[in-house]
Subunit: 343 residues, 2 copies
DNA sequence: GTTAATATTTTGCGCGCGTAAATATTTACA
DNA sequence: TGTAAATATTTACGCGCGCAAAATATTAAC
């Protein structure tokens, strides 16, 4: 396990009694060499534990085994957990995931893509920032490197997009709220970064009209990713203690709802379904923490398993076929209603 | 900006009228070439936007510009946010951070180190899993690659360790709790993975004894990282509605406290300081979400700015000096008491 | 036992760049 | 203005490996 010290494939070839290119073949696919040589190689591997220099490998390989994974914000447990499952799928497929977060904003997103470019990835999975994204530069990247978008769509960019069917899930939750109490108002950022937020707003309006209710939007100021903070402070200003046309608030996402719940609690406003409650709050996403809010947050889950799996599958087949897609695929997965105590 | 297409340094040298090795020097340090040549290069760079092949660069460079960053669990917003600030510092220093999470457990931690090994990083910043870590293998790695530990200590491994002074912060919070109400019990996992947890337990016991109170430990079952879940379910079993010797619970970390708070709420137990409250709950860490619990969580913050900064600084000086430390440094930073509504 | 077909291994070359040593140029200073 | 010191550039070589084509070994077929 620690004889002299093998420093390259040449030397390893020598000690294993096989020619260097055959060793190379073995490392690229152990099945591609005869069983008898494979055994010799693996025996030698036991005594010397040599590993090919990854830089030399990637310099010469036609395509690297790297897959880039870019998410808008790793600090958000939601994306952290998606990233984790995608990473797992990539590793299982024998590729090497490179995880980057665009938390710094649109310029960082591009800078992430630039880093990936220099790493010459086989393909890239990108959850873009959304409306803030520098679409032209992202598009230019996607022309160079096979790219699949997920979570947030950028029209026409990349080989495919996989996301959530906001129409469906918002419809589910609006219907539920109307059926079980007063029709909801919609609490959101005035200028959301995420295209899903816009879709949800429109879906809310449409659902309300379909049910013959007048839609009400509460559009609050706020920038960046500190949704809880915004939900809290703007909730205090615009919701708590105000006389609103309804006692039910549907938030554009769970993190806003978490802030709003906190503001309600702090101001002594009782949230929930029961008789003692004066406010109902619902969210969207089924954020990892929404189980533990007080009360638990009623929300709509996204089918992230499906999104992750399909995204990785298409990226892999894209790599394998070495071709681009003839038509850009766009698939939305349906979420489910998650009922908890808050509405 | 898009003339012919430069594919290597040779060609770029040609179009810029400078010799290739000089170009190489420029990319390693733009200041190292004469101002006049620098201008020529940068002019050419504008028209051709060429970038050196990172694999070829790293294959030949004596040391890469990569710094590995391994954290136990990126899904925890706490580590996600530390990782983010550390990444920022690394980038600012002109290095390239490689972020990996050991969420999968001790074997994944080692596998992360193995991946890093093959990338030949200049150095590695490691927040180990803790007691679960395969110490021998981590130590072997740290002998090969300059490694600095943070957050959780593994005795004698790596060049230095930077963490929190649990004695200090637990003392702060125990004193506060005793002074403002009944002395606390300590709520924790029976078999914690994290050495900080053990230190906190001991610090709690010591602090209580110093104040002439009898320490009480509530040690619950539970494995893995789903602390909120454990805090919730075990809290329901062991705390809520039980007749305990005190009405104050100090949790080993905020995530347990978040679960416990949720359980209290769900069972109609009023948490806080006021007269209507029957339970006080405090945590430790100042987790990003602890502001938004109901009520807000009283806790002890860690000085993660200091930990991040010092860790990165030492790793950088370690790289620069190209030497190991003669004595292993171990520095603990003091946290602060963060008072909110829960205790 | 021979030959053709096939699977495997080897030969030979080049990838894109870092870097030491040799050479040329610039700068500083008398 | 001349010279030495400092700085910049060039020459020349090697890093560790992938890959195509050629050579060889193995298997199958008759």
């Amino acid at each position: 396990m620690s004889n002299p010290k093998i420093k390259n494939m040449e030397e390893f070839a020598a000690v294993s009694g096989i020619s260097r290119p055959t060793i190379s073949k073995y490392f690229n696919d152990p099945e591609s060499v005869r069983a008898s040589t494979r055994e010799k190689i693996e025996a030698a591997l036991k005594n010397h534990n040599y590993r090919p220099n990854i830089y030399a490998v990637n310099q010469n390989r036609r395509h690297t085994k790297n897959i880039g994974l870019v998410v808008p914000n790793l600090t958000d447990p939601f994306f952290a957990s998606i990233a984790r499952t995608i990473e797992g799928l990539i590793v299982k497929a024998g590729f090497n995931p490179l995880l980057l977060s665009s938390h710094g904003g649109p310029r960082q997103e591009i800078s992430n893509l630039d880093s990936l470019r220099s790493i010459k990835p086989a393909a890239v999975l990108l959850a873009p920032l959304g409306r803030a994204s520098l679409a032209d530069e992202v598009a230019a990247f996607a022309r160079e490197v096979p790219t699949v978008l997920f979570d947030a769509n950028l029209e026409g960019i990349g080989e495919a997009f996989f996301g959530s069917d906001n129409d469906h899930s918002i419809n589910l939750i609006v219907e539920y709220l109307c059926r079980s109490g007063e029709p909801p108002m919609f609490f959101e950022l005035k200028t959301p970064i995420n295209p899903n937020a816009v879709k949800r707003r429109n879906a809310y309006v449409a659902a309300m009209e379909r049910l013959n209710h007048k839609p009400h939007l509460i559009q609050v100021d706020g920038q960046g990713w500190n949704f809880e903070e915004i939900g809290f402070s703007e909730g205090e200003r615009r919701v708590i203690g105000r006389s609103l046309p309804t006692n039910t608030i549907l938030c554009s996402n769970d993190r806003l709802a978490i802030g709003l719940l906190s503001a309600a609690y702090e101001n002594g406003v009782h949230v929930g379904l029961g008789s003692g409650a004066s406010l109902r709050i619902a969210g969207h996403d089924d954020h990892p923490f929404s189980r533990f809010t007080c009360p638990g947050l009623t929300t709509a889950s996204q089918d992230y398993n499906a999104i992750a799996t399909r995204s990785v599958d298409t990226i892999l087949s894209l790599i394998e076929s070495a071709e681009r897609m003839d038509v850009r695929e766009e698939t939305l997965f349906e979420g489910r209603l998650v009922m908890r105590g808050s509405a």
